[in-house]
């Protein structure tokens, strides 16, 4: 049953470029990119318990690295994506070094500071980033295939998103992933069981930043033009909302949160368009409306379902297949 459902979903996704509208493919690409980025943040915050407000900064690092590598270093666009991830991972590990000493709120503050410092650096380092005016990002091309629109880009996004999902799923069913969860749940006990807590945290920072950097590179390629303003703090908060609403420490939750909250504003847009007859100023307030709804959702989920959509989903599945015992997810939560 579950196999059939995922098979049908996969088939629909593979066929999407052949029948979807331009708008649908734009949204689908943004969903896929969000899945990769949210998975990255979830590895750090949900699975390892290290809160980060620096997600937008790592998106920016991924985006500007890719743009720089393609336009100024002459790297092929396809190679630039993992390279951007690697650069983000390296910087992520550097930011992670103080994390051994910092916990909870202090880490939130340190990553917030990292956000503003990265933003400042991006604005000032004009020779690399183009400064305030930003950069344009050429489409990746290989053997005459040029991914210059959403329809052509979708295959790559889908592939990378699936790879990211499988990687994360495997990881948290095996030793290194369990070590991260152990560090989150009880740092002292983890250390006593032989886990090098510092190393675990640094690898969580690196892996998380790699995913987020790849997402940033893809987002830059999709939008074609990036500037420091493409990465406001609210982007980091949106990503955290997706993690929380989707489900902290859950791979499936990352998908639900990323897709759900990427589609939500689109739904709001459709709704306000439909209601613009009665309330003409509603359209202009769309972004405010989005923030309002996201904020309310965060609060409501934290109070009533801290394990997010993933928990709701699991409960619904269990209810439907009450007879067949489901294997609990490797993520633990």
């Amino acid at each position: 049953m579950r196999r059939v459902a995922s098979g049908v979903t996969l088939a629909a996704l593979v066929l999407l470029p052949f029948f979807g509208s331009n708008y649908a493919l734009d949204v689908a690409n943004r969903c896929g990119i969000a899945v990769i980025g949210v998975l990255g943040l979830n590895i750090l915050t949900g699975f390892t318990g290290l809160i980060s407000l620096g997600n937008a900064a790592f998106m920016a690092i991924g985006g500007f690295s890719a743009a720089f590598l393609i336009t100024k270093a002459g790297v092929n666009g396809f190679a630039a994506i993992p390279a951007a991830g690697a650069i983000a991972a390296l910087l992520g590990m550097i930011v992670g070094v103080p994390s051994l000493r910092l916990k909870g709120l202090y880490l939130a503050m340190a990553t917030l500071a990292a956000h503003f410092i990265v933003e400042f650096t991006v604005v000032k380092w004009e020779s690399v980033t183009g400064g305030v005016s930003g950069m344009s990002v050429p489409a990746p091309a290989l053997f005459g295939v040029v991914l210059d629109n959403d329809r052509k880009l979708f295959g790559l996004v889908l592939l990378l998103a699936l790879a990211a999902l499988l990687f994360a799923r495997n990881l948290f069913r095996a030793r290194p992933g369990r070590a991260l969860i152990a560090v989150r749940d009880h740092e002292t006990a983890a250390a006593v069981m032989g886990i090098d807590v510092f190393r675990a945290k640094i690898s969580a920072f690196g892996l998380s930043a790699f995913f987020v950097g790849v997402a940033g590179a893809l987002a830059a390629i999709q939008s074609r033009i990036i500037s420091p303003e493409s990465y406001p703090l609210s982007l980091a908060i949106d990503a955290l909302s997706m993690v929380i609403i989707g489900g902290m420490g859950s791979v499936a939750g990352s998908v639900l949160g990323a897709v759900g909250l990427t589609l939500l504003p689109e739904g709001l847009r459709a709704a306000t368009n439909a209601l613009s007859g009665q309330w003409p100023d509603l359209i202009s307030k769309l972004s405010i409306l989005k923030e309002l709804v996201f904020s309310i959702l965060i609060i409501v989920f934290l109070i009533f379902e801290p394990h997010g959509l993933a928990a709701l989903w699991r409960r619904a599945v269990r209810k439907r297949h009450a007879t067949t015992q489901q294997q609990p997810e490797g993520g633990g939560k």
């Binding site: 000032k124 309002l292 609060i299």
Partner: protein, 297 residues
């Protein structure tokens, strides 16, 4: 070097810093007594400024009536938020509490934008506009009133904590919840009280800031994030630290704004508090006045 320019920067820094100090005090009070990190502190400030503006323009109330009304409103809001949003999360992981205050910040900000729009709104003139001369430096009267207001308020808070029953109970709660409980103090009520005080204090900061600037918009909310370097510098659980930290960050910000921004093409003023934050976290995470915690297993 132009001495008047330096003096002007220092005064600007102290004025803005005093408001940082005020908002940071609210922040510290919440953290001390409830352990929560309130990232919606800047939004409390906005609520204060907008409610006061609304009362004065739409209801045409004089400031003397609008101001107490604002305080009453924000006091109620603080209590309500604690009761509805924070209390269900008692005992939740730090991440949840931080995130819920981020959600709260978003809710308050988008709510205000929904009602008041995103344009800058003129704030009624509260203080005479003619500057007075402080030595050779002309200083606007708003600045003087504002610093005086903050000083009075912080003194009043200090007295409240030292001598009033509620203040003592709040301090007892902050130092040890179990002991406070055993002395018959309602810890839950103290949590509500600390959110109430924090909201009111920030609202006052918002009104003062509105009056000084002459206009308010959504950028007021950034004060909430600026306060983080302040409290890290001073120590998350120290009210004197919040005051010293506030003044220090205010001054550093204005000095770098005055001297480094022209050289580097702007933006340094905005980032320098966060560089200070990182330095403090690396050197002394408990801040200048904060207590070091001994982790026991």
């Amino acid at each position: 070097m132009d001495f008047t320019f330096l003096l002007q920067l220092l005064i600007n820094g102290l004025v803005v810093g005093s408001i940082y100090a005020l908002v940071a005090t609210g922040f510290v009070i919440i953290h001390k007594s409830t352990g929560a990190l309130n990232l919606a502190q800047g939004e409390f400030l906005m609520v204060g400024a907008y409610v006061c503006l609304y009362a004065m323009t739409t209801f045409r109330l004089p400031f003397a009536a609008a101001f107490p009304l604002t305080l009453a409103f924000t006091a109620l809001l603080g209590v309500l938020i604690e009761r509805v949003v924070l209390r269900p999360l008692l005992g939740s992981p730090v991440i949840s509490v931080i995130m819920v205050t981020l959600g709260l910040a978003g809710l308050l900000r988008s709510g205000l934008q929904f009602f008041f729009g995103t344009d800058t709104r003129a704030f009624p003139e509260l203080f005479p506009s003619a500057p007075v001369m402080l030595g050779v430096v002309p200083v606007s009267q708003g600045y003087i009133w504002s610093v005086a207001g903050v000083t009075v308020l912080l003194t009043a808070l200090g007295l409240f904590f030292r001598y009033s029953r509620a203040g003592l109970a709040l301090r007892a709660t902050a130092s040890n919840q179990q002991t406070a409980l055993s002395m018959g103090i309602s810890v839950k009520r103290m949590f509500a009280l600390s959110w109430c005080i924090a909201a009111v204090v920030s609202a006052i900061g918002g009104v003062l800031l509105g009056a000084i600037r002459g206009g308010i918009d959504m950028s007021l909310g950034h004060m909430g994030l600026k306060v983080l370097p302040v409290v890290i510098l001073g120590g998350l659980d120290s009210v004197p630290g919040a005051i010293v930290g506030g003044l220090f960050i205010g001054v550093v910000e204005n000095l770098t704004g005055g001297y480094l921004d022209p050289l580097l093409g702007g933006g340094v003023k905005e980032v320098v508090p966060y560089i200070v934050l990182v330095l403090i976290l690396m050197v002394r995470p408990s801040g200048l006045f904060g207590r070091k915690k001994v982790d026991r297993v």
